[in-house]
Symmetry: D2
Amino acid sequence: MRTRRHPQRGTVAGALPDAGSLAERFVAVRARTEALAKPLSPEDCALQSMPDASPVKWHLAHTTWFFETFVLERHQARFRPFDPAFRVLFNSYYHAVGDRHPRPERGLVSRPDLANVLAYRAHVDHAMHSLLDGLDPASPAAALVELGVHHEQQHQELVLTDLKHLFSRNPQRPAYRPSWPLASVRPARAKWLTHAGGVVEIGHAGGTFAFDNESPRHEVLVAPFEIATHPVTHGDFLAFIEDGGYRRPELWLSAGWDTVCAEGWEAPLYWERRDGEWRTFTLHGMAPVDPGTPACHVSFYEAEAFARWAGARLPTEAEWEVAAAGGKIEGNFLESGAFHPLPPRGEPDPGRPAQLFGDVWEWTRSDYSPYPGFRVAEGAVGEYNGKFMCGQYVLRGGSCATPASHIRPTYRNFFPPQARWQFSGLRLARDA
Amino acid sequence: MRTRRHPQRGTVAGALPDAGSLAERFVAVRARTEALAKPLSPEDCALQSMPDASPVKWHLAHTTWFFETFVLERHQARFRPFDPAFRVLFNSYYHAVGDRHPRPERGLVSRPDLANVLAYRAHVDHAMHSLLDGLDPASPAAALVELGVHHEQQHQELVLTDLKHLFSRNPQRPAYRPSWPLASVRPARAKWLTHAGGVVEIGHAGGTFAFDNESPRHEVLVAPFEIATHPVTHGDFLAFIEDGGYRRPELWLSAGWDTVCAEGWEAPLYWERRDGEWRTFTLHGMAPVDPGTPACHVSFYEAEAFARWAGARLPTEAEWEVAAAGGKIEGNFLESGAFHPLPPRGEPDPGRPAQLFGDVWEWTRSDYSPYPGFRVAEGAVGEYNGKFMCGQYVLRGGSCATPASHIRPTYRNFFPPQARWQFSGLRLARDA
Amino acid sequence: MRTRRHPQRGTVAGALPDAGSLAERFVAVRARTEALAKPLSPEDCALQSMPDASPVKWHLAHTTWFFETFVLERHQARFRPFDPAFRVLFNSYYHAVGDRHPRPERGLVSRPDLANVLAYRAHVDHAMHSLLDGLDPASPAAALVELGVHHEQQHQELVLTDLKHLFSRNPQRPAYRPSWPLASVRPARAKWLTHAGGVVEIGHAGGTFAFDNESPRHEVLVAPFEIATHPVTHGDFLAFIEDGGYRRPELWLSAGWDTVCAEGWEAPLYWERRDGEWRTFTLHGMAPVDPGTPACHVSFYEAEAFARWAGARLPTEAEWEVAAAGGKIEGNFLESGAFHPLPPRGEPDPGRPAQLFGDVWEWTRSDYSPYPGFRVAEGAVGEYNGKFMCGQYVLRGGSCATPASHIRPTYRNFFPPQARWQFSGLRLARDA
Amino acid sequence: MRTRRHPQRGTVAGALPDAGSLAERFVAVRARTEALAKPLSPEDCALQSMPDASPVKWHLAHTTWFFETFVLERHQARFRPFDPAFRVLFNSYYHAVGDRHPRPERGLVSRPDLANVLAYRAHVDHAMHSLLDGLDPASPAAALVELGVHHEQQHQELVLTDLKHLFSRNPQRPAYRPSWPLASVRPARAKWLTHAGGVVEIGHAGGTFAFDNESPRHEVLVAPFEIATHPVTHGDFLAFIEDGGYRRPELWLSAGWDTVCAEGWEAPLYWERRDGEWRTFTLHGMAPVDPGTPACHVSFYEAEAFARWAGARLPTEAEWEVAAAGGKIEGNFLESGAFHPLPPRGEPDPGRPAQLFGDVWEWTRSDYSPYPGFRVAEGAVGEYNGKFMCGQYVLRGGSCATPASHIRPTYRNFFPPQARWQFSGLRLARDA
């Protein structure tokens, strides 16, 4: 019997619990971002490897800018900016706030240096602590802090994925965390689960925090379908490659095939073949591709082609959400310190999909579009989600780089169909 | 009272009725394609103005290639190709057929010349006539001929839109049909029609020809909505421009705004401002922008931004289709010879949307994706539609360049969100 | 003994003698341009295969524009333009004349069509005949006509090279002149000729027509050198290729090697290897590479790398000119109708280089820069040459596409170092 | 009387004398490179602002790699590399050494970090000290050390120019050295000096170090000419701008005008107009453009256009060299700490050009090509100069960023005609 390995889990330094009061969660989230950056040199934090990715230093500063601009500037008495130039320098994409430093040039800014950005964080944290002290949890300011906390969790994931991309461009393939002790586990085999379909509800029901793009909760008619118990594994993907998957245009969407040809794709991102064996770059350095782990760093195009090859299809986001409804939010998240998808652990609940949360984001066949009745919020925060609802596809479930408290069954992540640098995989579905 | 004009309709030379037996329709469609090319010089037919567009000569040849490759090669006894090189040269995108001449280089092929391509048409027509004589209408061959007839109608529209783009790049702005007699008509004002929503059926019900992407007919849950009686007009669009529509990022999708900035868009395609007045290029040469006609040559981005500015939204394709269900398919089609959107004629049926068909394709908010249960056909014709279901948006209703017999309420056209060279406009919708 | 072939020479239709009075030469040159276009269809004449090349129709019109704009407009009583739009449309690069239609869009202009451009030629020719009748040969107008005649000869060569490039992009590889009867001749072997160097004079001495870039005649100090009796042959170049010439960076200039890698060069332009044998595209269709003919369609980079590989170097333009001084201007020119470099004919004069003129332009190691004391002429014609004196290299001697009466020992042609679509080859030199 | 300012000169930290034994000069040059980097953070040293520029950290490492690869690897007993990966990572362009990390990706390498690169320097310096101890000054190893010392001086200049470019891309425009105390000086006015021409000698005569591209010394025939006593000043250039210099195509080379239009040039690099006044970015931050200082950061195109506007021309490199022959090598070099061109100091020698050395490199009209009889050295160091002899123009005299001991009258610097980020200016010449 073939065995697989699982990691001996550690904790990420500084990973305080994300639960508790808003003030406690603010402290915990801020601390974890800095803990993620702790092993990094000033150079590691300053570089930008492609326009889609940002330097770690920029993430450290931009998440701070979010609190300074949207909370302190509006709600702090006698507010004075830490540095007026930061208003432009660390504005990501909010036209309503004013000018923005061009995204592709985020890696050209050596000053402020890392120490100065950490001082910026300390300064804003200090002011936030005063403001949070006695803040009415039902106030608009509290809602903005809540948004900022979840915003910063999103950037924690990007710190890891952007750094991974940067390190992958270094010919020495450095490791973010050198050691990665793994133990053997049994493999799982995906089975089909049937869902009867019908008029179902999806979207966020309120009561707790959610992003605006998850609302309003609404009814949708779903035809009967089947969904796999487990994500597609690296072993499955190796079979696709060996069957000529990257050389057969009939398996691909037209735009996908164009991308395969233009980019010379032969395997998922970060894979390298040496002496006939596939290896992949991880945050622990180069490692063999483990067939028992969920397939990762594939684009929507590759996910869609794989599904066609397998005689199946990607689920819609509605299918995914009804399959996920009512389940426990458990899995291999950022807190495990694995920073890589892992094999399933333990026995899944019978009749329920496993590994829905954590490990890898799962591409759906749904383009990222507004739910019926969706309204963009007034003002700058209205730019948070709505304006990106074009040309992107929805991913669900979070990944090994997502904080555990950040994910929900209704959570809608989204990326363009060619994006591969996130921990993105897939789960198969088919008509019942 | 302000008056508008409408054209004195003529007939397009060679516009035989599209109805009748398959053989009759084959003859009529083939004849009309050549009639469309008749006023053109060999040079007019040979040039390619951008990779998205093709030379008229290529359209003449490719539609012929379709019959030769998919019908004659398989079903004609003792088939011999007119020219073996044409199999590659005029293959558009069918990987299963073999190699393809690169699309951006279609304008580098001076030989075969126009006369030779017309001889190719005559040769294939002759063989087709023999084959059609006595063909079982229920045979696979007949189904392929039927597909080829509708395929050629699609290319008739592209002949006009691609030629219009080519002529627009000529500094002399030549006219395809110089004279355009217009008479005055009254303007119409759009009102809202309400639809109660519920579980409705969309998609093609069978019985007559439809493309595979219109199937299967299926149920979908639609929330109550309102839809405008008329398309947005050029007058409406002028108000959008005058209100700074092209200078206000808050109105735009992020990708749309990036395109506005990168391309320097200030108005729909083909518009030119001279001495404070907007003029537009038409197939009859430069003409003033007529406020009473449907807005045209706008991208999905512009349609979406306009709708936001107007406090409304684009309809989904399901909303559009249920609003259109049961209506008469009348309008300003290719046969009118206007080759330009026109003001509404006569009084619309009370309680029904007007100008749904013809004049301008109407952008919907729906990305072009497979209907539940959609299956791609086996073999090369399976490449017809399915592989393009990514990164495009659905348009409905046909345009002034669409043959009347080509359009249906279930018809799904699709283009990328930045495309503007089709006769594309919009109709507003909103939540009820 | 290996034998080579030479063509049975014909005459180019319409190739009247270029000698005689200015009026006679005007007529002859104008007629030959049209004769060159005679075998071509309107489509052949309309297409543009790359920004560096122009459609034949454009050449027909631009050479006419030159006479209309620089001669008739200034010197004809009651001048009226044939079409005012042509002033912009067919202006190549003369800022002083006003706006110019963008060069990369010359292939987007289907109208005026070929017939209209030929009418334009006839119209201007008619006016020119009147003006030439009784024109003072010493007048400024006569000087401009003279310039226009030589200008049109330059474009005759470009008609052939641009058309060749266009046809090469057609997968059917059409032939401009199908038949090319060749006979066997003996091969020649290049030897070294020694020149003692010293202070020599180069540049045009006056008395006959020359372009401004050939002046002033001036002294230059030349070190003793040796120069080859014959150009490098295709056989020589095959040896270079077989010795890994295109795979050895140490043979190349840095910019040349970058180009080899970026463009994937493995052989001169138009070469194709099939079944182990090299073939090349000619104006007579595909043909085997003939080892006995001068190497052709190589860039400056390839010429320079070949010379290094051969233990030699390119001559400077001064060396070339002193080697050529006093020789007869004979060779394989446009008039031969071969339109391809040929093996040497007959025995060369002892002690003199052979094939200096015709067959292939010969790259020199000299950048194209102003001679000491060079002055740009006043007005628009001052833009003829001077403003291009940067980033280009000098070629000497004319080619098989150059009219015989067009070339001189002092003639300076120039192209960027990566250009390959001219009939460009090389002759070796070395320090004595 | 208008007054100008000059700086109170300081010394650059670590600027030991460059004179002395080879070992002493090695120590001095190595120390100065590190002194130049001393005020910089690890982030400052890691970033790359464009493919033409390199990170400071890369310069620190590559100059070390030069000694390790060309000296230690060949001449040290029991040589072991500091890190085998550095052989590829810090190879600039030597194909003969093996693979090279791609130049545009030098800014994607966060590891080795700055501390590690400084350790690399210390390690190699230690080994070099042992090797230099008792090294025969006439040995091949000593010649390579000498080359390495001059090589490192070249990179000292690039440290400053590349850093300046990087800082200019930071919206906060940081200063490398904040304070720049300036005092008033009198302006100078350029006059013409006449040279009789004739057969002169240029090139390096031997006896001291020179790069291979300065050899062999050879005769050249120079026509009588005049050359200006001083470089063109910023005041002169302001007059050119105010006279529409950047808007008049007739002043420009064709390739220059294309660049002006494509890049939107309106002034030299680093200039910004605010409230009608021109300011420029310097290594001391933003500063007003000082009319009395030599014009700087202009391309060959701008230099050439300015000269045409001024009714003059650029000198050839031979003219420049004979004008410079026999003069003292004095000027505003790197050691002054000004890092910016300055007004002339004191009275120039009558009849001799002033400010030939230091302040700004002076563009000549000469393309960078091999001197007659030039031979590329065997092996990897042969790639030092020869392979770049194409498409570049020669600059002479050194700049305010050049070490004083690095420059010679025969020194040939070279850059492409569009390059502007060096301290490049011009001096006028004209025919006598």
